[in-house]
């Protein structure tokens, strides 16, 4: 149990999706103008990541890996379907995002309106596909995969809400014209990344 908890902390802080791997930058930059919207997107990402990581783990271990199909019949032991990995993962993610979209539209039309195009774009939020790909690379078991998915989502949520809070205050400062918007946000992200780097020294 402690190991799983450590994995959550590690993937949220030390291996933060945004500051360590640059995954999910597009929505991170574009939806971080208001704290409330950023919070909604962050929670949606946590949900999708936590659900898709174990689902994709099952697909990888029970269908795609070499010999993984042997649980159906012993004739399938030499079948290797790993080349279908990207296609399968993205299909699972896209269907999940569509599900989340329907849920949000039903229960919170205001949030639905403010997320706009970025809601369907969660499907191409790199942190979600990246979470699944890293999970396979690092050879997790299913509990670890779920913890990793949840931790990564948590890291994304923390980062996007923190940035949105800074950007709300930024309205009151004088930024050079060319640096307004994206430019100053990139520099801010760099500084926040520097702060997150301090977690690297921690050993769990």
């Amino acid at each position: 149990m402690t190991e799983l908890f450590n994995l959550v902390i590690k993937s949220a802080f030390m291996d933060n999706m945004i500051f360590a791997y640059f995954l999910g930058m597009c929505s991170f930059l574009a939806v971080s103008k208001k704290v409330s919207t950023a919070n909604g997107l962050g929670l949606a990402v946590i949900f999708v990541l936590t659900c898709t990581a174990p689902l994709n783990w099952l697909i990888q271990k029970k269908i795609l890996d070499e010999g993984a199909l042997s649980w159906i019949s012993s004739d399938f032991t030499d079948i290797d379907l790993t080349f279908l990995q990207l296609l399968m993962f993205i299909a699972v993610i896209a269907s999940f995002v569509q599900l989340v979209e329907m849920i949000i539209e039903k229960f919170s039309p205001a949030l639905y309106g403010s997320l706009g195009i970025f809601l369907p774009l969660i499907a191409v939020n790199c942190s979600i596909l990246g979470g699944s790909l890293f999970m396979v690379q690092r050879d997790f078991n299913i509990q670890e995969a779920t913890a990793f998915g949840f931790g990564s989502g948590l890291g994304f949520w923390l980062a996007i809400v923190a940035l949105a809070a800074i950007r709300e205050k930024l309205k009151y400062s004088h930024v050079p014209d060319g640096l307004k918007g994206l430019g100053i946000t990139m520099l801010l992200t760099g500084l926040m990344g520097l702060a997150f780097k301090t977690f690297i020294g921690m050993t769990l």
């Binding site: 299909a91 369907p120 990246g130 990139m186 520099l187």
Partner: protein, 223 residues
């Protein structure tokens, strides 16, 4: 740096051909500067930063993105009238994922070293928002030839930015360009390389400054 210049030359030669009307030239050239996917539209930043530690993987990445972008636009545009609106995103992703799998298998077969360096980031071309964004915004509603021009413009606009970022990151972080130790060749053996530029932070700061420079030049102001 040399690739970037080469790509720009190709663009300049193209408008001379007669089948490029003024409107089409605008589709092609707009994303290079005034409507750049990275610095103006804020799309595709993830992969722009992740692979830019060294110049060489960045070049491979740029070529892969140009390839995937052009062919996915072409295919989407050809079948756009047969795609049901409700499932369009899954259809588009399936097209992109198929092309990315092609690129990934090709790299695995012909340049395994590079495949290992790029690792998961080849797969992550699927989630490069520029590609899905352009398919959704342009290829779904326009004729194949226009869509290909739009795709070419957007992907080259993406490529030149990541090449510039990679050039500075490799120069300042490792003191080299394409693996050649430039400073040692110039006789400056004690060049202080800065680990911050190999790290993610350097990428954020270089891109931030690049955006500042570009926006000051073309006068784009974001509110």
């Amino acid at each position: 740096m040399s690739t970037e210049v080469k790509e720009k030359e190709v663009i300049k030669i193209k408008p001379a051909e007669s089948f490029l009307s003024k409107r089409r030239r605008k589709i092609l050239v707009d994303p290079l500067d005034d409507n750049n996917p990275i610095s103006i539209q804020v799309l595709g930043i993830c992969s722009a930063l992740a692979v830019t530690i060294k110049l060489e993987p960045t070049i491979v990445m740029s070529i892969s993105v140009v390839f995937v972008m052009i062919f996915s636009s072409l295919i989407t545009s050809l079948i756009r009238n047969y795609i049901p609106v409700r499932v369009r995103i899954i259809v588009q992703l399936a097209i992109i994922a198929t092309l990315v799998t092609l690129v990934s298998e090709f790299l695995k077969a012909f340049n395994y070293e590079m495949f290992k360096v790029l690792g998961a980031f080849v797969g992550l071309i699927i989630t490069n928002c520029i590609i899905l964004g352009r398919l959704e915004a342009y290829a779904m509603g326009n004729k194949p030839y226009d869509s290909v021009l739009d795709a070419l413009g957007s992907s080259v606009g993406y490529a030149w930015i990541i090449l510039v970022v990679a050039f500075f990151r490799e120069l300042l972080g490792s003191g080299s360009v394409l693996g050649f130790k430039v400073f040692e060749m110039l006789g400056w053996y004690s060049f202080p390389t800065n680990g911050l530029f190999v790290d993610s932070i350097g990428a954020f700061i270089i891109l931030g400054l690049l955006i500042w420079a570009q926006r000051t030049r073309n006068g784009y102001i974001e509110n």
